[in-house]
Symmetry: C7
Subunit: 265 residues, 7 copies
């Protein structure tokens, strides 16, 4: 780790290596991801679970408009953390890729293929000048050839496959929790529980039904990507003793008008 | 929050992340929004209300020429705060999108769809070089499938849906007021009252009919987007005891010839 | 208002926001407008009056070649203040827009429409890189559907409608004078008098017929845009006791060879 | 007038306003004009006179190759001051415009029209990035509809019409001289005399026939643009007692090998 | 080696030489390669071996998703070290080149030809502006005309052919080890052993089957590029006494959440 | 003349004026010309002479490969001083222009026309961004309509016509010598002698036949551009007592391996 | 020669002159050439000899893959020094030029023509922005019309013809040696000996057969460009008492892992 003055010299240009071989703009984009609220993905035996912290800054804001969970295709869901507007660009890109694949090959796009399409797109923004990197990480989950798959994309454009992962704020703590609690062979319902348990770690152990989103894609379900209703989420939270006592309480940093993460959930 | 010298290093380029993952140019564009006079949106049971502070800098200026309320389509209105000229660009973009949607699908564009068209457009100006972000926020309100909808766009390109919101100067105070006073199930007329009450908060509790604009789009009204006449506004203000005693008084900062917000209402 | 060193950081790039949300280049372009000699517009009951201070730097310069008043279309006139060469670009743009409108719709372009065409064009130069903003303000006046209309464009690209206004040097004083003296319902001839009275405010109360230009567009007159002859102006000035005693006296700052406003009238 | 450090901040970029609304690059281009030797234009009753100081740096240089007087069209001449190579670009532009006008409308281009074509071209180089302004001023003179016309273009792209003017070095003194000596109704021959008298002001009252050029365009002469021969010039100089005693003396600053104005006449 | 301040002057621009003739950006890209985990290539008598350290940062990450070994064509494999996303771009480029060659000439691309296609592509990113160099090195191995060939590409775009080599972290130590242990005439199986011995040098002499990848392309095998299964690797490691005692132990630097090499294996 | 710190501010950008109206990049390009060895041109009664100092840095270098004299067309020769590679670009440009002229008008290009084609091309590199000026001066000599003509092009793009001139190192001294010695009415052979006398001024009065080149174009000679053989040059040098005693002696600064003018003759 | 701080001001931009007329980037590219190992060219009576130091950094590297000698056409060879990847670009360019010439004119390209094609290409990278100069020098040798020709290209784009020359490290010493030892009229075999003697000067008088390459093109040989085998080289080295005692010893600076000239031979 070098001193302050050296660092200043290398982090202003977006496509330049530092003397120790780092790309600061990409690392700062990772900081933008950490400023976003957490999302969690868990791969179950028979499906994939995506869950996201989507607390609103104000009780007047519609929770449904906080975009953390996205349907990319019938069988593919995406959870994001970081800059919402950047995430939307990548989701749009993913949807077009899924459609093109369907048209060209007559079959649904593979989860790994789709993820790598996205990461190759992200990489371009880290090498070619004239634009900044994307300030967002994605969890891409879905069913491919009857198998649940769960991937991560980060601002450098690297794809990783996971059994379970979290992105966004408190990433380190939530990963520790997942590494401890995750077991292979979970059912999708158990995975939903684990995902909510994990999200609750960064919320004093409590979640409001409005402030959380859950989506599942299962092997057997013809419906593909499905988001759980508030009522379903409330009953699960209640069951697991995670239900927040005051549903209307805004996000902790939601009442500061000049919050700098106003564009992150 | 970091020191002065660090900040200077990251806020000069428009498409560069700071070490803590922030995009300063986007945050400064939010400051440009705060320099504009306030606009308010309220979603009622049967319609949507847009209201705007449009005080003139001089009694010789035509109040009608201060563009804060815009008709984007028959069933969609937009209120803006910040740079007027930037707002005009986004309104033009929105109108073209609405027309394209009508031509392509034979039906009016959805409020959510239109909002996201706008925010995706805004996002491009925060990622790709060669231009600054838009220095304006919009409230997009309208009727979609018989339901009133109310959205916000900010300079980062993030869309939010609200029950009631304000943008522009004194945002924090006006939001507090709305959070306290807003109740679900308001009629459109009650919502007009609430919107004017809210605007009056940043004007010593008084408004001049000339210095305020009100537009409504209701579920039942075939006329779609409708702006209230000065007389209607005057009688409402009178009724709610908000009527300014001296109609001709210019805006507080309107008599300074070198006012820097000359291009903001 | 911030200190010197901060300011320097933000005013070099043309399309960058300052931390308090200002676009310095646009504000400096406003200073360029103030360096130009004054122009005045007055809306009368039955017409519109444009008047401009067009004193020459030297008695050898042809007063007629000092371009402050421009005919944009038969029924539209424009007065400018600031960079003459920039003004010419915008006038050319306005003339093409007026012609296109006539060709496309078979009718004269509306004054408001034309003004907004111009301001949208100006805005592009404040957002997209590679060019500086226009250093000029315009008064656009004309007859639309039998009604006199009077608009202003400023370097930010914001359109305003006025009953009477001035642009260029001494703007603040001339506006105060207009606010005091203007009355609704003036005849065009009375408006010419008011316009000249106003211009005289920044010339020690005197004007030379050669050093001032007056144009009118009236509702009833089929001739459309008409510039008054020197003789007409002289007799009006004489009548109002504004006539300068020595017609040949150059502009006050006209005899300094290194004058920096050599390109402004 | 501001201090040194401020100035440095604004004069490096070519298309940027200073805080007081000035375009330094344009002002510096005016300095480049002043570094060139003088040219003079005088409008007579029946024609236009262009005269230029074209002293050579060395007796071995061909005086005829020093380009200060240019024929732009049969009825239009141009005198320049400043960067010779820049002047050539503008003259080429003017010639093409004159030809295009002839082809398109079947008649000679107007002097005012041609001048404004040139100044509009110059203005582009002061607003759009990627090039510096033109470092040259022009006197455009000719006959239009039987009337002599005389115009100036400066580096800002502003057109002015004059009865008589000078550009280049000692502009201020020569203008004073012209203002004193010029009278309306001069014959072309008298105007030639005045032009040479004026040029001699910045040469200790003496001129060498080789070191000066004179061109005239007269109303009655079918030959259009005509340059006077050395003999004709010599006899006029002799007659007016302006003839230099030693014809071969080089220009004052012509014997310094490292002269920075080697590219200016 | 020069002082600090000089260095800062030359390493900011990507396409600029330093006074001593170095391209710092290329050298820093080499540092990015060293930040990646090691890959090893060994040329045997009858085939080529590629091996790579692919330890995961977390036991929840799928080892198979860590991309260090790539099939470029049936008879060509590539091992990478450095930025994963950059490597993917080059592998994609290599695959397209291989396909184009097959289509154009009806035969498999030569290993040397393919390598030089890649290095020429890399060189462009070190000379032409607008992009940074690739932060990745590749080992390209395969069979050409019945002969095993083994090449390296580095960030400068230089191709080298090797008998055995390593790229990535601890390059210097692993090369020393290879220089000592490599003998001409190794069988492919012996070469697999040597490759794993070498990789173990930078892992305390131990490797987990999950944390290492091995691919071979042999002269006689019709299958071409083949990756060894975890079981095969485990039995070889066991045989050579390299088997890590605790398979689940994460990579040494894998548990630091803010690890800067998150995008390198 | 201004101080050091001011100068630094204006000489970095290639297309920017300094406050006193100078283009430093053009002036520095003139310095590059002075770093080249001298070339001389002399116009005779019946022809044009070009001569150049072309001493080699090493006796192993072929003198003929040192490009100082170029045939641009049958009747046009060019001598250069400064950057050889830049000179080659301009010569190529000149040759193409000569061919185009021949094809288009069926006659040889005029010397003045060709020179101005070249200077207009050079000017573009001093006004439009994205390239540096040409670091070379040319002497363009030839026969036009039976008359010998001799022109100079400099890095600003200004054309001059001369009776006799020198470019490159020691320009000032050589010009003084020429001004003293040149007489109108010289024969071509006498002009060759004067040219060699002049070149010898900057070589201690001695020249080696190998180290000098001479070309002539005469009015009567059908061969057009002709370079003199070494033997011819030797006998002339001998005759004028200019012959160097040791032909193999390298150029004075030719034995320094790190000579910075390695790319200039 | 100027001080340090001045120098810093001019060597950052690639296409800018320094106040004394130098192009620092071109001079630094020459330093890159000096960092490469030496190449030597000798013109014999009946052929041309190219020889190059190609010691490997490691005994595991294939000497044949170190590209210092290149066949550009049947009758043209090229030896390089400096950046290998840059050399490859120029060789590719030369090969295409040779093919185009063959196709267009039905005959082999001339050595001088080909060299100048290359240098004109190189010059572009020193004048037009957006790319750095080529960091490589070439020796271009071949037979043209039955005559051996030997040329050099340097980073400025200047072509030189030589009887014998060296490029790369120790250039100055090797040139001194060549100037002393070279005699006109050498046979090709004698020239091979001289070339190896010269290369040995910078290797303690010893060369390993693996560490050196030799190519010849002779007038009488139909085979054109021919590289000597290791055995042939060994016997010549042995004969001249230049044979290194330990063939496997790596290059002196080859064992440093962080060697900065890793991309130069």
């Amino acid at each position: 780790m070098q001193g302050q003055s050296q660092q200043q010299a290398y982090d202003r240009g977006i496509t330049i290596f530092s003397p120790d071989g780092r790309l600061y703009q990409v690392e700062y984009a990772r900081e933008a991801v950490k400023r976003g609220t957490a999302s969690v993905g868990v791969r179950a035996e028979d499906g994939v679970v995506l869950a996201a912290d989507k607390r609103a800054r104000s009780p007047l804001m519609e929770p449904a408009s906080i975009e953390k969970l996205h349907k990319a295709d019938d069988h593919v869901g995406v959870a994001s953390a970081g800059h919402v507007a950047d995430a939307r660009q990548l989701i749009d890109f993913a949807r077009r890729q899924a459609q093109v694949n369907q048209l060209r090959y007559g079959e649904p796009v593979g989860i790994e293929t789709l993820t790598k399409n996205i990461t190759d797109h992200i990489q371009q923004y880290t090498q070619v000048g004239g634009a900044r990197p994307f300030g967002v990480a994605l969890i891409v989950g879905g069913i491919e050839d009857g198998e649940p798959r769960l991937f991560e994309t980060d601002p450098s454009g690297t794809p990783y496959e996971w059994q379970a992962l979290s992105i966004g704020s408190d990433r380190s703590d939530l990963r520790d929790y997942l590494e401890e609690e995750y077991e292979a062979g979970l059912s999708t319902d158990e995975a939903v529980g684990l995902a909510l348990d994990t999200l609750a770690q960064s919320n004093d152990g409590e979640l409001a039904p409005d402030g959380v989103g859950v989506a599942t894609i299962t092997v057997d379900d013809d419906d593909g990507y499905t988001e759980r209703s508030n009522d379903e989420i409330e009953s699960i939270l209640d069951e697991r003793d995670l239900l927040a006592t005051d549903e209307d309480a805004p996000a902790e940093n939601g009442d500061a008008d000049d919050a700098t993460d106003a564009d992150e959930e």
